[in-house]
């Protein structure tokens, strides 16, 4: 195994007398400083200029509504849990509480479903709807496990990150607020993140191509979003199997 010895006299020369007398070590340091003096600014002038969070960013949660992009098994989930089939624009949540089960801090959720109060001959008799969905985001770790557990892709992370407030009360979001946040996010950036079946797109970009403030820290460089892997088909290269 490779061992590389480091130390003064090993990979670092001690200071010579000339260097000591003429303060060459300080000169060298100053050279670096001066070099940086003529570089472009790299800082973002927040709040006049903001960089957009990446598409995978795990910000404030949202509850998605039915918009025709549900996964194929959405209806079978609805049947399984005896939920009233939602109309367009109604929440996708089926009150299965999978999100709560996956959450490291389950007490931050309050999820309740209620039986519909309709006469017996009504087609929705005996079915339930979501009545309460509260999340106390002051206890949330923004770990993303709830979104990965949700079978209907209802609960999602949005790119909203400013959650500061004067009261603790305003960190508790109810289902209307959560739906509004999701709708807003989907309208702005839904296409970037999800495909037609509400799954994560395969070609998500590492950060948005319109995010010029972010490029400042990278000296104006932007990725060209070429695919990561040269081979697009399985089996074109055998070396994976040999491992």
């Amino acid at each position: 195994m490779g061992i590389k010895k480091v130390g003064l006299n090993r990979n670092v020369k001690p200071q010579s007398l000339v260097e000591k007398i003429f303060f060459l070590d300080f000169m060298k340091g100053l050279k670096t400083t001066i070099k940086h003096l003529f570089r472009k600014t790299i800082t973002v002038d927040f709040p006049y200029e903001v960089s957009t969070p990446t598409i995978r960013f795990r910000g404030v949660h949202g509850l998605r509504n039915v918009d025709g992009t549900e996964a194929d098994d959405f209806n079978s989930w609805i049947k399984k849990l005896k939920i009233k089939p939602p109309e367009m624009g109604e929440t996708r949540c089926i009150a299965c509480k999978f999100c709560q089960a996956a959450c490291p801090v389950p007490e931050l959720f309050t999820i309740k479903a209620e039986k519909l109060n309709v006469p017996e001959d009504h087609p929705h008799h005996g079915l339930k709807v979501l009545s309460v969905f509260d999340m106390d985001l002051s206890k949330c770790m923004f770990c993303g496990l709830c979104t990965q557990a949700c079978p209907t892709d209802c609960i999602i992370h949005t790119d909203v990150y400013d959650l500061s407030s004067y009261t603790r009360k305003s960190w508790v979001l109810n289902k209307e607020e959560l739906s509004r946040i999701a709708d807003d996010f989907i309208a702005r950036r839904g296409k970037e993140k999800f495909d037609e079946k509400s799954k994560w797109r395969q070609d998500q970009q590492i950060w948005p191509d319109y995010d010029t403030p972010r490029a400042k820290a990278w000296d104006g460089w932007m990725p060209s979003y070429t695919p990561n892997y040269i081979n697009t088909q399985k089996g074109t290269n055998n070396s994976t199997e040999s491992q």
């Binding site: 061992i3 200071q15 340091g29 995978r56 509260d134 081979n231 994976t240």
Partner: protein, 579 residues
């Protein structure tokens, strides 16, 4: 695997007929009666055929109130000659165990922690006081009969929001009662207990809220003029009982908590836990290679990220303010990459037991490569500013030398051990994930002073960059978008593995697996009595905790100004030392 073989351990039986040898997934442990423990350990340490010179960890398992004996001591040792580890266990009858401090000084804090958390007395320990809690705290929280919520016996209504004199109703409302809190007298008692005999006139308090301590560490220096005669450290201000949480939560659900231990290198914390859990499940070899390459790459990226923060704050503490700005510029780039790939900049939670939760987004490898292209030049800039600067040399050269002996004695790991000439690197010894397929060198120092620790970390960054480059090449050329990034178990009935981790059960057994965190060896010891969705005992072997312990020795006889240098070059993170 770096573990003693069953044959070699059984051979011990010839000499010591009273021992029991057990094996679980290749992890061999030896059980020794309490009264024979010290002589047995002495043999292991000194015998040239075994030479378990290096202390790794000591902890206690609580088997539950009904068991008798209830507590069991667990000692993990490492043999640098044979590159093997061993577990030695001993039942703590009557809640006592003999002290190991005469064999390894590193056991001092570990025993104090075991006393603090389990109430096990170590006979012969010279100052068995609490480690994290304050003197006068009545409980031992890691015992199984201590509830996870704690015992709420103090009224503290100020936590609650009050509107018109009334408590509000709702989720955001906390109970008026709170778990015990230390009073000022308690803290005074704690301070006295930590340093019972003053040697000179002044005791200087440094911290707990001082920017130079990089977190909430409280130092006590017994000073003779400028020179330190005696030193002790009070930690625990950030103690959140992470081990207790781990024992009360699902396996996957615990990963976000590891983010919050060493928050500077949270990917590496995730990594250690994930590897340990996979080894207990026996699936570490089956994890898709693509996931392993991604994990290796991310772990090294995070190491660079962590070392950059170290370099910036270290130089800042020694008076070189500009460094901080330069390193944060590169850090910002890494943060951007992490944000793009994982969705979070700081508390990542990207790794899963069985792989990672998502594939790389478009442009990820490209961005990392762009970062790497620029990076060597940046390191040269840093070195130009510091390495041969006369002030830097004066503040670091020959300051607080740690010898090879200290490394074994205190269980020092990571860059601190390597700077003292010990090529101890878990990445090479234990070769988890893809570390045996990548080519890199272990930087090793000669003197063991602060300057060597600085040079070792600088070289580590270069080596990490080299590893990442190899990972990029491998990922780009050998994999396709369709390759799995998460393990699909062959028999889903037997093993329920999912990305969100609901219902994941781990089998009965024990495992100690560690990874090389930027701050030293981070090990997870998981002990499971029976197959369950929650572990019975999780012990976190924190590299920063053991490395910080040597501070109290290395600072003796040095002027007080060296405390800053020493602390910076040890580079502890309080989230991990306190857990």
């Amino acid at each position: 695997m770096s573990w003693i073989s069953l044959e070699k351990a059984t051979a011990l039986k010839e000499k010591f007929n009273y021992i029991d040898v057990a094996e679980s997934n290749g992890y061999v442990s030896v059980e020794v009666p309490k009264d024979k423990l010290i002589s047995f350990l002495q043999f292991l340490k000194e015998d040239p055929d075994y030479a378990f010179k290096m202390f790794i960890d000591l902890t206690v398992i609580d088997h539950g109130q009904k068991e008798n004996p209830r507590f069991q001591g667990v000692i993990i040792l490492y043999s640098p000659e044979y590159k093997e580890r061993i577990i030695v266990k001993s039942w703590a009858t009557e809640e006592t165990l003999p002290t190991l401090t005469n064999l390894w000084s590193g056991a001092k804090w570990a025993e104090r922690e075991a006393w603090d958390m389990f109430g096990i007395k170590f006979e012969g320990h010279d100052n068995l006081v609490r480690m994290f809690m304050w003197e006068g705290y009545p409980y031992h929280p890691l015992r199984k009969d201590f509830p996870i919520r704690g015992i709420e016996d103090v009224e503290l209504p100020s936590l609650n929001e009050v509107e018109r004199g009334d408590q509000l109703e709702g989720l955001f409302n906390y109970s008026r009662m709170h778990t015990a809190l230390p009073t000022l007298e308690d803290l005074e008692k704690t301070q006295k207990a930590r340093m019972p005999k003053k040697k000179s006139q002044i005791v200087l308090n440094w911290g707990p809220l001082h920017p130079g301590t990089h977190g909430t560490i409280w130092f006590l220096f017994d000073l003779d003029g400028e020179y330190v005669q005696q030193c002790d450290i009070i930690i625990g201000q950030l103690h959140r009982g992470v081990e207790k949480i781990a024992e009360n939560i699902g396996y996957q659900q615990f990963i976000p908590y590891t983010d919050r231990m060493d928050y500077i290198a949270s990917i590496n914390e995730n990594h250690a836990y994930v590897v340990a859990a996979e080894k207990l499940l026996g699936i570490h070899d089956k994890v898709p290679p693509k996931a392993k390459w991604i994990r290796t790459m991310m772990a090294e990226l995070s190491r660079i990220n962590s070392h950059l923060l170290w370099l910036g704050t270290y130089a800042l503490d020694l008076g070189a303010l500009t460094m901080f700005l330069y390193t944060f510029r590169e850090r910002e780039k890494i943060m951007d990459i992490l944000e793009g790939i994982t969705g979070a900049r700081f508390t990542i939670n990207y790794f899963r037991i069985g792989g990672v939760f998502a594939d790389l987004p478009a442009g990820a490898l490209e961005a990392i490569e762009h970062f790497l292209k620029d990076f060597p030049e940046r390191i040269n800039d840093y070195e130009n500013l510091l390495t041969r600067n006369r002030i830097w040399l004066k503040r670091n050269k020959d300051v607080c030398v740690l010898t090879e002996e200290d490394v074994y004695d205190y269980g020092l790991t990571g860059a601190v051990a390597r700077a003292s000439g010990v090529p101890y690197d878990v990445r090479k010894i234990d070769s988890y994930d893809m570390y045996d397929e990548v080519d890199f060198d272990i930087p090793v120092g000669e003197v063991g002073d602060s300057y060597d620790r600085y040079l070792v970390r600088m070289e580590e960054m270069r080596q990490s960059a080299k590893i990442i480059q190899q990972c990029i090449e491998k990922l780009r050329n050998d994999f396709t978008p369709d390759d799995p990034y998460f393990l699909e178990p062959e028999d889903p009935k037997k093993l329920k593995l999912s990305i969100d981790g609901r219902g994941l059960k781990l089998p009965q057994g024990e495992v100690y697996a560690s990874t090389d965190n930027p701050r030293g060896e981070l090990g997870f010891y998981i002990y499971n009595k029976k197959a369950a969705i929650k572990p019975h005992r999780v012990r976190i072997r924190s590299g920063a905790f053991y490395n910080l312990q040597v501070f109290t020795k290395a600072i003796i006889g040095r002027p007080i100004a060296d405390a800053i240098t020493l602390l910076s070059t040890i580079d502890p993170v309080v989230g991990e030392t306190d857990r």
